[in-house]
């Protein structure tokens, strides 16, 4: 609504609350600052009450949600920091710049804790690229944006996931997570605690790009959103690289009291949050802020989201040391103001007061308690007949973009810079990075919108469970996670219901396995205003795990002399939300069930088997089911397999269900000690069986009612080259 002559996204209730709290009419600049800070994007005003359900504490958690990154204590004096950001709206209209600046933002979140960014992960969702040229264009440019930016700043992109679905045609999702490494005693907080400290703005100048970025992200997209290209920031990875070096050097010099990334909401958000956390105030001078265009108004300056800027709180008396460091790297710096004890964010031009807002008021938007409504129950669909040629179905599934190898993507990412990447993209269920302490970090991002669309509670929990399985499969113990909830317009009561249920599912499962949430993000309004179509519920989970010893690192390739193939977990009649159903044009009614206890036990015993040295390869069974999981292990190892599924632990199932059902809580393991593995699994009541062995040049699966045989070359071709054939049909 229009207040103080400016267009805002504030509601009448919010403007009334603001006037009441201040006891006066705010100025136009103040309204703009309130609007930016109280945007859904920055304030979490709708989601906060729901997110409270998530468990956020644990032995290793030093800092949970509410800071720029979560901080996990991994022992030996080291910490890992992690955070996730989305750049969905910007990427929908400028995929290259939107994706690139998404990385820029999340890297600053890691940096401002005083930790070094050591790995990037991306979870991407696009429309159906087999049908839509628009989605192909979006995808290619998002990938190029991530590659150009991530490669240049020298942070490896080590893992990710990509889902394709028609619902993302107009609203792609671009999530980037970052992992940081630092010393526990060098941690920095985004807190301005000491009056008289200096406040510096470093890095790029403040321009008109990214104006209203946060409020833009707090609305649905429409056909005329193209006009909002100016709300997308301009990426400059070279400047970012210099900022990384300069900030870390300043941090290690011990001259910083606090550090804050300037992202959504720009200076307004940075200043108010750093002051609020520190229980202080900040006074800044407009004329000290380096601006790119001379005629920028105070409003534009305070809410611009220009990239590559950091706010530093420098200890009094250390200013000259900071100047030297910034000059070394050629990074622009300006002392824009100081910390005060007034508990207000004050903006002045010379001595003229332009804005003065109480810190606590500005930084804490009034909470919105939204209504939710249960959606109508879906009509059951007729069960399809069992296909005659299951081998062909398997090849089609392997070639479907969501399942197919993402090599076309990860070849474009420098995934090795930093020389830490032990399990590289495509080699294992999660990325594994070596750490200076001798331990290793495992990290993975996961999503499953089709499950969440059918049942957000079970779906949300299943996404977290699958992500944990991926971490366990590489030999790591899950230690912390990030939640990232992406939904349509929260004013829609059914969408808000789905959001609430997804968070509840995630929270309940996290509690069951004692896994703390250390941060996350919420992105609403992923909805096309013209068609009214919202994305499917798309929570994305990031799980961090720790591998205790290098020899525990386990990859997914069936190796020579790798031994027997063993399955852990029961396969059920659960095709709802599966890739197989999607291939047939079906949805199903319910996703696979998730029994928290069974999942927990299965993960625990698989990890135990890996740590005991029994396991030569391990792979989680998820998208595409057992058939796809086995084929993936064969392709990775360059060898076939012969398995008999007649003794697979299962419900009474059809052959297609047995192959493609995406039942939770299952792993495939290769082992030279099958008896030990089977005994360990069965002792914890996990159904298990030996299925066969790897080797040969075909995939041969004996089924209760038939047999699936596929040539390894055909399997390899379907899986490995599918994305390239779709995206660059002109390549050989």
């Amino acid at each position: 609504m229009l207040v103080g002559d400016i267009e805002t996204t504030l509601t009448p209730e919010e403007t009334q609350y603001a006037r009441q709290q201040l006891g006066r009419e705010p100025s136009a600049l103040e309204w703009a600052m309130i609007d930016a800070e109280w945007s859904e994007h920055c304030s979490y005003k709708s989601s906060k009450p729901v997110l409270k359900q998530l468990p956020t504490t644990g032995n290793r958690v030093l800092l949970g949600p509410g800071y720029d990154s979560g901080v996990v204590d991994i022992g030996d004096g080291y910490v890992l920091t992690l955070h996730i950001e989305s750049h969905n709206h910007p990427s929908a209209i400028d995929p290259y710049g939107g994706a690139a600046t998404g990385i820029g933002g999340v890297v600053r979140d890691i940096l401002c804790m005083g930790t070094t960014p050591i790995a990037l992960m991306d979870a991407l969702k696009f429309g159906d690229i087999t049908r839509s040229d628009h989605s192909k264009w979006i995808m290619k440019n998002v990938i190029r944006g991530i590659a150009d930016y991530g490669n240049c700043i020298g942070v490896p992109t080590v893992t990710g996931e990509i889902e394709f679905d028609e619902c993302y045609e107009r609203n792609c999702l671009v999530d980037v997570a970052c992992l940081g490494l630092g010393r526990k005693d060098e941690l920095l907080l985004a807190e301005a605690t000491n009056p008289d400290d200096s406040v510096y703005l470093i890095g790029g100048s403040t321009g008109r790009d990214g104006i209203h970025g946060a409020t833009f992200a707090s609305r649905t997209l429409a056909a005329d959103s193209e006009k909002e290209r100016s709300a997308v920031q301009i990426p400059d990875p070279f400047t970012k690289k210099l900022i990384i070096e300069a900030t870390l050097e300043a941090s290690r010099a011990g001259i910083l009291r606090g550090c804050k990334d300037l992202g959504g909401g720009g200076l307004t958000t940075g200043l108010s949050e750093i002051a609020d956390k520190g229980g202080s105030g900040i006074e800044v001078y407009l004329e000290k802020i380096p601006i790119r265009e001379s005629d920028m108004s105070p409003i534009e300056t305070l809410i611009s989201e220009s990239q590559e800027r950091m706010l530093l709180v420098v200890k009094r008396g250390s200013e000259e040391i900071l100047h030297q460091i910034m000059r070394k790297y050629g990074v622009t710096y300006s002392r824009i103001g100081g910390v005060t004890s007034t508990c207000a964010v004050i903006v002045k031009r010379s001595e003229q007061m332009l804005a003065s807002l109480p810190t606590g008021f500005l930084a804490n938007a009034p909470i919105i308690h939204r209504d939710s409504r249960l959606p109508r129950v879906r009509k059951p669909e007729a069960e399809p007949p069992v296909p005659e040629n299951l081998g062909k179905v398997l090849l089609n599934l392997l070639a479907s973009p969501t399942i197919a190898s993402k090599e076309w993507v990860f070849r474009q990412y420098d995934h090795e810079v930093g020389i830490r990447t032990v399990a590289k993209p495509g080699e294992a269920d999660a990325a594994v990075l070596r750490l200076p302490s001798g331990k290793l970090a495992a990290i993975k991002v996961d999503g499953n919108a089709r499950f969440c669309d059918l049942d957000p509670y079970v779906g949300g929990a299943s996404v977290l469970a699958e992500c944990c399985r991926n971490i366990v499969a590489v030999g790591a113990e899950p230690v912390a996670f990030l939640d990232h909830c992406q939904f349509g317009d929260p004013n829609d009561e059914e969408i808000f219901w789905a959001f609430s249920m997804a968070v509840k599912g995630i929270a309940d499962f996290a509690r069951a396995i004692s896994l703390p949430c250390v941060g996350g993000k919420v992105s609403f309004y992923n909805q096309d205003e013209d068609t009214g179509r919202a994305i499917k519920s798309s929570p994305v989970m990031t799980v961090l795990g720790i591998v205790e010893r290098p020899e525990h690192v386990t990859k997914s390739a069936l190796r020579k002399d790798g031994g027997a193939v063993v399955v852990a977990g029961k396969t059920k009649r659960e095709l709802g939300g599966s890739e197989y159903y999607h291939l047939l044009g079906l949805n199903g009614v319910t996703p696979p069930a998730l029994d928290f206890e069974v999942e927990k036990n299965t993960q625990a015993v698989v990890l135990e088997c890996i740590r005991n040295g029994f396991v030569s390869a391990c792979h989680d069974c998820s998208k595409g089911g057992l058939g796809v999981a086995l084929a993936e292990m064969c392709v990775a190892g360059g060898r076939g397999a012969t398995v008999d599924l007649r003794n697979l632990p299962r419900d009474e199932t059809r052959d297609d269900e047995l192959l493609f059902s995406e039942s939770n809580s299952r792993f495939l393991l290769a082992t030279n000690e099958p008896e030990n593995v089977l005994n360990a699994l069965r002792s914890r009541n996990v159904p298990a069986a030996t299925l066969g062995t790897g080797g040969g040049d075909s995939l041969d699966i004996i089924l209760p009612h038939g047999r699936l045989q596929a040539d390894l070359n055909a399997v390899q071709a379907a899986y490995a080259t599918s994305l390239e054939r779709i995206l660059e049909p002109w390549q050989k």
Binding site: A147, C152, F238, K241, L242, R411, D414, V417, I419, Q731
Partner: protein, 222 residues
């Protein structure tokens, strides 16, 4: 021996290279900020990979015109070993120490991949402890690493034993005749696109890269 790894603004394999020299090989190595570099104490110099000066104008060209690179040219002319890796290779070409050009990959994409290489000449400062024809597995990661020169120059490089290494079975960047590493006439200056510092530990996928640095030590010894 004492090795300098020069850090330009935008270098990003600088610390990796120092780490390997120090911890995998036990060498005395310094990370040197470009405008603090002086040649005196160093027996060899490495220009690391990355995006010096953001690859603005063209990969390596701004670094090539820096005072640090002027010193590198002097060191090279004195016969001390100089290695340019990836962006460092681009810099050595732009500085005129090596011929040819490094163009954008023919696939028009960044390529990060482990490659099989063959050593074509072992009479260089960085391949002398390897046998001619021996195979190495070292990864590449670049967008602009397609070595290009006129046919006549390529012929001269081949006949003058100046091709140090080439790809064996795959050439995803479309580089001329598979060439991915060349040396100067004296053999003390090598530019290579693959990253030897990344092939420095079994857990990372192999240790063949260490042989490049070990050769440097051996060359300095004799």
């Amino acid at each position: 021996m004492k090795v300098a790894v020069i850090q330009f603004p935008g270098s990003n394999c600088d610390r990796d290279t120092v780490h390997v020299l120090k911890n995998a090989l036990g060498l005395d190595a310094d990370l040197v900020w470009h405008n603090e570099f002086n040649s005196g104490p160093y027996d060899a110099v490495i220009l690391p990979g990355g995006f010096s000066f953001g690859d603005h104008l063209r990969g390596g060209i701004i670094a090539a015109h820096s005072p640090a690179t002027e010193t590198v040219v002097e060191i090279a002319n004195e016969g001390r070993p100089v290695l340019g890796i990836c962006n460092g290779f681009q810099t050595l070409i732009e500085a005129g120490l090596l011929p040819g050009a490094l163009l954008r990959n023919t696939c028009l994409k960044f390529v990060c991949k482990w490659m099989n290489l063959q050593v074509e000449n072992n009479n260089t400062a960085f391949t002398c402890s390897l046998k001619k024809g021996s195979k190495l597995r070292i990864p590449i990661a670049h967008n602009e690493g397609r070595f290009y020169a006129e046919e006549e120059i390529l012929d001269r490089l081949e006949s003058g034993e100046r091709v140090a290494m080439r790809y064996v079975d795959d050439n995803p960047t479309g580089t001329s005749r598979g060439i991915t590493g060349i040396v100067n006439e004296k053999g003390n200056v090598l530019g290579m696109m693959p990253h030897p510092e990344r092939a420095s530990d079994l857990s990372l996928g192999g240790t063949d890269g260490l042989k490049i640095f070990e050769s440097m030590v051996e060359w300095a010894r004799c």
